[in-house]
Symmetry: C2
Subunit: 342 residues, 2 copies
C-alpha cells in the first residue's frame, strides 16, 4: 500500500490539505510546518499519485510521441533529443508507432487522449491533418515534425529539405556532372516533396533538363529497395553519372547495388544520401550526404511543446509558429567528377 498525503498528515499531526499545500511550497503554510511535512514525507518515502493529481488538475506531466516507425535510425535520434528535454523537465513520455496504419493511428489517438497527455509530438509523416485535429479539438497542443503539411499546423518544426537537396545537387553539378538522376521515396509527405523539389529547382536553375525516367520514386525506405532499383538506372541508354538519393538508407542500398554490378563509386558513378545517419560514415566509400541536426530537432520540438503548455496558463503566445532548421552539406567519398568519356 503506497504512502499518501493522508499518511503524512496523520504522522505530522496536521490535515491532508495542509500537506498538499506544503508539498507545493504554498505561501499559505508556515515555514516550520513545511519543513516538518517535507521531512516526514521523505521519511515515509512518499510519492505522489499521478492518477489522482491528473484527475484533479487535468495535467498528467506526460507527453505523447507518435512515430510511424521507431526502428529507424533517423527517428530514433530525434526521439533521443525529445527524451532528453522531456526528462530534464520532469515530463514522462508516452510512445507509440503508427506503422502508417490508419487503424493504429486511431487507436493511438484514443490511448493518448485517455491517458490525458498534456501535449503531443507527431513525427509521423502519414498522420493526416484531420486525425491530429482530434487532439487540438480537445485542447491538447500538438507539434509536428517534418510533416507533409507543416503550414496547416499551428506549431511545427521542420528541416529545410529544399535547401539540403539543392546543395547536394549543386555539389554534383560543380563536380562536372550533367546527367544527374533522382531516386526518391514516395510516402514521406512533405519530405518527399521538398527533396525532389530542391533537386529539380537546382537542376533547372543551372539549365539542366531532367528527363522523366531520371526520376524514380517508390514507397518505403529499406536499403533493399536501393538494390532493386539499381537496374532501372543502369539500364538506361542515357545512363546518369550521378544519383541523388532521398536518404541515406536508400543510398546505402543503392551503393551496394552499384557495387554488385561492378561499378566503382565514386570513380564511375557518384551518389549522395540525406540525413547523415551514423552508418553513412561507415559505408565504403563513406557517403556524401546532408547533415540534418536530428537530435537538435527533437530537442526543439520538445521545448516548443513545453513552452506551449506554460503559455496556455500564462496566456503567452510564442512569437513563432513554424521553425525551420538548417543542416549542412557533408562531402565525403561517394562523389567525384564524372568519368572522362562523359
Amino acid at each position: 500500500m503506497p504512502v499518501t498525503i493522508k499518511d503524512i498528515a496523520r504522522k505530522a499531526g496536521v490535515s491532508h490539505p495542509t500537506v498538499s499545500r506544503a508539498l507545493q511550497d504554498s505561501s499559505l503554510i508556515s515555514e516550520e510546518t513545511k519543513k516538518l511535512i517535507r521531512e516526514t514525507a521523505l521519511k515515509l518515502g512518499y510519492l505522489p499519485s499521478a492518477a489522482a493529481r491528473s484527475l484533479r488538475t487535468h495535467r498528467s506531466q506526460a507527453l505523447g510521441v507518435i512515430f510511424s516507425n521507431i526502428n529507424d535510425p533517423y527517428f530514433s535520434e530525434i526521439l533521443q533529443g525529445i527524451e532528453e528535454v522531456a526528462q530534464s523537465h520532469h515530463y514522462s513520455l508516452f510512445m507509440a508507432a503508427s506503422q502508417r496504419d490508419p487503424q493504429r493511428e486511431q487507436t493511438i489517438i484514443h490511448a493518448m487522449r485517455q491517458h490525458h497527455v498534456d501535449g503531443v509530438i507527431i513525427c509521423s509523416t502519414s498522420f493526416s491533418d484531420e486525425k491530429s485535429q482530434q487532439f487540438s479539438q480537445y485542447g491538447i497542443p500538438i507539434v509536428v515534425v517534418n510533416n507533409q503539411a507543416a503550414e496547416d499546423y499551428r506549431y511545427s518544426i521542420y528541416h529545410d529539405d529544399v535547401d539540403g537537396s539543392r546543395q547536394l545537387t549543386k555539389h554534383l553539378i560543380e563536380l562536372g556532372h550533367r546527367r544527374i538522376a533522382y531516386f526518391g521515396n514516395s510516402d514521406s509527405g512533405r519530405t518527399t516533396q521538398d527533396r525532389l523539389a530542391g533537386f529539380r529547382f537546382e537542376m533547372e536553375s543551372c539549365g539542366l533538363t531532367v528527363p522523366d525516367h531520371y526520376i524514380y520514386e517508390l514507397p518505403g525506405s529499406d536499403p533493399e529497395k536501393g538494390i532493386l532499383v539499381t537496374n532501372h538506372f543502369l539500364g538506361l541508354s542515357d545512363r546518369p553519372t550521378a544519383l541523388v538519393c532521398f536518404n541515406d538508407m536508400l543510398a546505402i542500398g543503392m551503393l551496394k547495388g552499384l557495387q554488385q554490378h561492378g561499378l566503382r563509386v565514386p570513380e564511375e558513378f557518384s551518389i549522395t544520401g540525406f540525413d547523415n545517419i551514423i552508418f553513412s560514415d561507415y559505408t565504403n566509400p563513406p557517403l556524401t550526404t546532408f547533415d540534418q541536426p536530428k537530435r537538435f530537432i527533437g530537442q526543439k520540438a520538445a521545448e516548443l511543446i513545453l513552452n506551449l503548455l506554460n503559455a496556455s496558463t500564462k496566456i503567452t503566445v510564442p512569437e513563432q509558429k513554424i521553425q525551420v532548421l538548417k543542416g549542412r552539406l557533408l562531402i565525403r567519398k561517394s562523389t567525384a567528377p564524372p568519368p572522362a568519356e562523359f
Copy 2:
C-alpha cells in the same frame, strides 16, 4: 470539457453506476440497457479517463520500458517488438532512457511508479538489482531483457550469447584461423561476459590459446571506437588473422579502420559481428554475424509481462522463469580462410 459517464447517464436516463457497469459488459445489466448505453456513449464520443480509472482500480493499462540508449538500432528493434504486442493488447508504453546514469535511473523509477505502470520491461544492462527491486517491492512486476544478472530476477529473457559467440569462433576456426583475437565492450553486463566467455570456451575446446593482448575491451559501442582500436591489433608482433567483435556496431567501425590501413577483408583479415543489425548486410564486404531474433525477443518480453499481469489476479504462476532464445549463424563475406603465408 470531455464526456463522462455521468453525461451518458443523464442522456440515457439512468444512473452513472449503471453506465459504468454497462460499459464493462457486466451481467448485472439487462441487454437492452447495455445497448442503449453503448449507443449513447458512441454518440457522445465518450472516452474513459485513464486517471480516474487508474485511481480507482490501481491499474493503468500502461507498461514502462527502460532503455540505456534508444538511439541504438539493436534496442530499437527490440522496442518495436514490445510495441507491437503492447498495442495489440491495448497497453500504452511509457518509455525512458537511462543513459547509464544512476541519477536518471532513479528519476525514471520515480516517474514510472508515480504513473503507476502495471509492469516494467528493463532493457538496460546497467540497471542494478537493487534499483529494480524498487519496483518489485511495490508489487510492480518486472521483466529484464539480456540483463547482467538474469538469474537474480524472477522473470527474464535473454539471448544465448555464449552459443552465438561459440558458433562464430568455430566458424573462423573451421576456416583455418588459429590466431583469433577478441574485441569487446566492457559495459554491457551479462552480454559482455557471455560473448567473451563463448569465444574463450570455443578456443580452448579446440586447443587454441588466447594471449592476453588478444583481448581488448572498452566501454561504449560507437563504430568510431572500432577505428581507434584497429591500431592495437595491427601493431601486434603476432598479429591475429581474424577478429571476433562484440557486436556489429564495433565490427563496422573496425572494418573501416582495417580498410583505412589498406587491409583487404576478408582476403587478408577476417572479421565477425554480432546482432545482425540491418546495416551489417550493407557494409562492403557484408558482415558475417550472428542473427539475434531482436523483434521476437521484444515480443516475448511483452507477452511475458502481460501474462504476469493476468497471473497476479488469477494466481497462476507461469511455469518458466527464464526464457533463453537462440539465434543463428549468418555467414556473409567478411570471413574467409587466412592468407596462405599463415
